[in-house]
């Protein structure tokens, strides 16, 4: 028990003396986080300033929420915000279920060797860079030589300019994202399936259940907590979309459906040097993201504890 300030200070020095080696080992990590993740947070101030790179953060004048006001009147930002939500929402509907279905299907493959082979193949695209994936998509969808348009031509259709037409951007983006990540994301669900007690299947077998019934009535309900947690995490990340991939795929003619907040920040801030406006957009996004992730975590904690019952 510490009785007074002096004693606790004494304890503190004792601990420092005893563990100086540990603090030395910890120092590079602490310095790194301070320098590269916490110091930039100070730079968020420029969202509230009329920032000039020559005057610096301190030298620039305060403007309150003027940058945010400008942002909300900027049609391009408003469009980018709704595009972000729409693309994430579409991903939730179309991409989210795919790894679950894949995991269920892997689980029904009887031959361990076949399953291992199939998994090796579908995990692979996760390790390929988005630049290569974009390159493959561009080659694939090329109006003149791309295999998709060759097929369309073969069937007697006109070639489609997939990458220059706004209505095609989202299907192409979400489809190729599924190709890249769905296989790898199935790992989490496979781990959950591996935890299902075999006795459940054995007794269902004895009762004459079919494999289809066992999948629906045993496997799926048993991995439901995992599905719910993943769903909550996904909703928490609603304002985060794969902008590094979007930058590679979009072009001015598809901005109306493809431009998201992060790509807007990239263009106005890094390409256009409107640092204050872009920082305001980033801060707006980060605050929404924080609130979503935080509430998602709260809900997930509740769900995962009650789902035990």
């Amino acid at each position: 028990m510490k009785h007074n300030l002096r004693e606790s200070l004494h304890d503190f020095w004792e601990d420092l003396r005893r563990d100086w080696q540990l603090y030395l080992l910890l120092a590079p990590t602490v310095i790194w986080f301070a320098l590269f993740l916490y110091k930039p947070m100070y730079g968020l101030l420029i969202a509230f300033k009329d920032f000039s790179i020559f005057r610096g953060i301190e030298g620039s004048a305060w403007v309150g929420f003027a940058n945010f006001a400008e942002l909300f009147q900027n049609d391009m930002f408003v469009r980018a915000f709704w595009n972000t939500i729409t693309i994430s929402g579409l991903g939730l509907i179309f991409a989210f279920p795919v790894p679950i279905i894949l995991a269920l299907m892997f689980n029904e493959v009887q031959s361990a060797a076949a399953r291992r082979w199939a998994q090796t193949v579908v995990y692979l695209p996760h390790f390929i860079s988005v630049v290569i994936v974009a390159g493959i998509v561009i080659n694939f969808l090329s109006p003149s030589t791309g295999v998709v348009n060759l097929l369309l031509k073969g069937l007697g259709f006109e070639p489609v300019y997939f990458l220059t037409q706004p209505e095609w951007f989202r299907p192409v983006f979400i489809g190729s994202s599924i190709w890249k990540e769905a296989g790898f994301e199935s790992i989490v669900y496979l781990a959950a399936i591996a935890g299902v007690s075999p006795t459940l299947y054995e007794s269902a077998r004895v009762d004459g259940a079919s494999r289809w019934q066992m999948m629906w009535r045993i496997t799926l309900p048993c991995i439901l907590p995992t599905i719910i947690i993943m769903l909550i995490i996904r909703i928490g990340n609603l304002v985060e979309v794969g902008f590094e991939y979007i930058i590679l795929l979009y072009r001015p003619s598809t901005y109306e459906t493809a431009d998201v907040v992060s790509t807007f920040i990239y263009r106005t801030g890094l390409q256009g040097t409107q640092y204050d406006l872009a920082t305001a957009a980033g801060l707006f996004n980060a605050v929404i993201a924080f609130v979503l992730v935080y509430s998602a975590n709260r809900i997930s904690r509740k769900v995962s504890s009650t789902s035990l019952w």
């Binding site: 563990d19 080696q21 540990l22 603090y23 080992l25 910890l26 590079p28 990590t29 790194w32 986080f33 320098l35 590269f36 916490y38 930039p40 947070m41 730079g43 968020l44 420029i46 790179i53 894949l102 299907m105 892997f106 029904e108 493959v109 009887q110 076949a114 199939a118 995990y123 692979l124 695209p125 390790f127 390929i128 860079s129 630049v131 290569i132 974009a134 390159g135 561009i138 080659n139 694939f140 090329s142 030589t145 060759l150 190709w179 790992i187 989490v188 781990a191 077998r205 079919s210 494999r211 289809w212 930058i247 590679l248 992060s262 801030g269 980033g282 996004n285 980060a286 993201a289 992730v293």
Partner: protein
């Protein structure tokens, strides 16, 4: 389930349908790779005429000749090796000692540091403040900036810390009896015992370094410093809309498509070499990192 040999007819149909559908998914995952490979070794004329869909036509290595004789390709390849190895070593050198210190329960301030690190998983300043900070630190257009600026992240520190925490006390006590310092303890006891976690983190670093393009594109100006992915982006994405360049590549032997395909294959090969290890350890790492915290 393998113990049940007697399947009903319905179950067999279910099994076959499942196998066929899964097989189709596997093939559609594989097909783009096969297609790119086929295009890369076909003649430019055959690709332009739309004759390549699955198998190579008029097999030629002309596109590879063209790619491998481009000086910029080799510079970018070399740079990627520097960033991958330098960056991964830097990451391990920073995060392993830090995670070890944080795994010691008696460390005063441990909770505060852990929270401060975990907080960065939830909130970060964003693109522009990070960029301006790199600029203030004098790390624009700098190889060292690329290596140090992305050396650590909360996920990997937490993963390593959790692993160190799980090392049984008895190992530690035996070494302490011999009067080992903390550094010796880390080096001789904890690192050897935590090889799987360290290999996992190293592979995470290697793959993200090899594949990363965005910040290298933003931060580096000098041509001679860019990594492979930025080079790839310039050739494949930026020049695709540039018809002049595309048609300058258009000869009977190679075309824009065959050249870009050859570049893609050349940059995928190292990934395929480490893939067997990466697959094994990533699977573990995802579950280790995901289950705890």
């Amino acid at each position: 389930m393998a113990s049940f040999n007697l399947y009903s007819r319905g179950d067999r149909i279910f099994g076959w349908t499942n196998a066929v559908l899964l097989g189709l998914f596997v093939l559609s995952t594989l097909y783009p790779f096969i297609y790119v490979l086929a295009v890369s070794v076909s003649s430019g004329a055959a690709v332009t005429a739309g004759r390549v869909t699955l198998w190579p036509v008029d097999i030629t290595l002309a596109a590879y000749d063209r790619v491998l004789s481009d000086r910029m390709f080799w510079i970018a390849y070399g740079n990627t090796f520097i960033y991958t190895f330098g960056g991964t070593l830097m990451s391990l050198a920073i995060m392993i000692p830090g995670a070890y210190a944080l795994s010691r329960k008696r460390l005063r301030g441990r909770t505060f540091f852990n929270l401060a690190i975990a907080f960065t998983l939830w909130f970060h300043a964003g693109m522009i403040p990070f960029f301006l900070n790199m600029r203030d630190l004098g790390l624009l257009d700098s190889r060292f900036g690329i290596i140090i600026g992305f050396a650590a992240n909360a996920f990997n520190v937490i993963l390593l810390r959790n692993f160190f925490e799980a090392v049984p006390k008895s190992f530690e006590e035996a070494a302490k009896m011999d009067g080992a310092s903390e550094l010796q303890l880390l080096w001789k006891v904890f690192i050897p015992l935590s090889k799987p976690a360290i290999v996992t983190v190293a592979l995470f670093c290697i793959v993200s370094r090899w594949n990363g393009y965005f910040w290298a594109m933003v931060l580096l100006r000098g041509e001679e410093k860019i990594p492979l992915q930025v080079y790839l982006k310039r050739v494949i994405v930026d020049l695709n809309s540039n018809d002049e360049f595309a048609s300058s590549l258009l000869t009977a032997r190679y075309s824009f498509e065959t050249v870009t395909s050859a570049i893609m294959i050349a940059s995928i090969i190292p990934v395929l070499i480490i893939y067997p290890y990466a697959q094994k350890y990533f699977t573990k790492g995802i579950l280790l990192g995901g289950v705890k915290e």
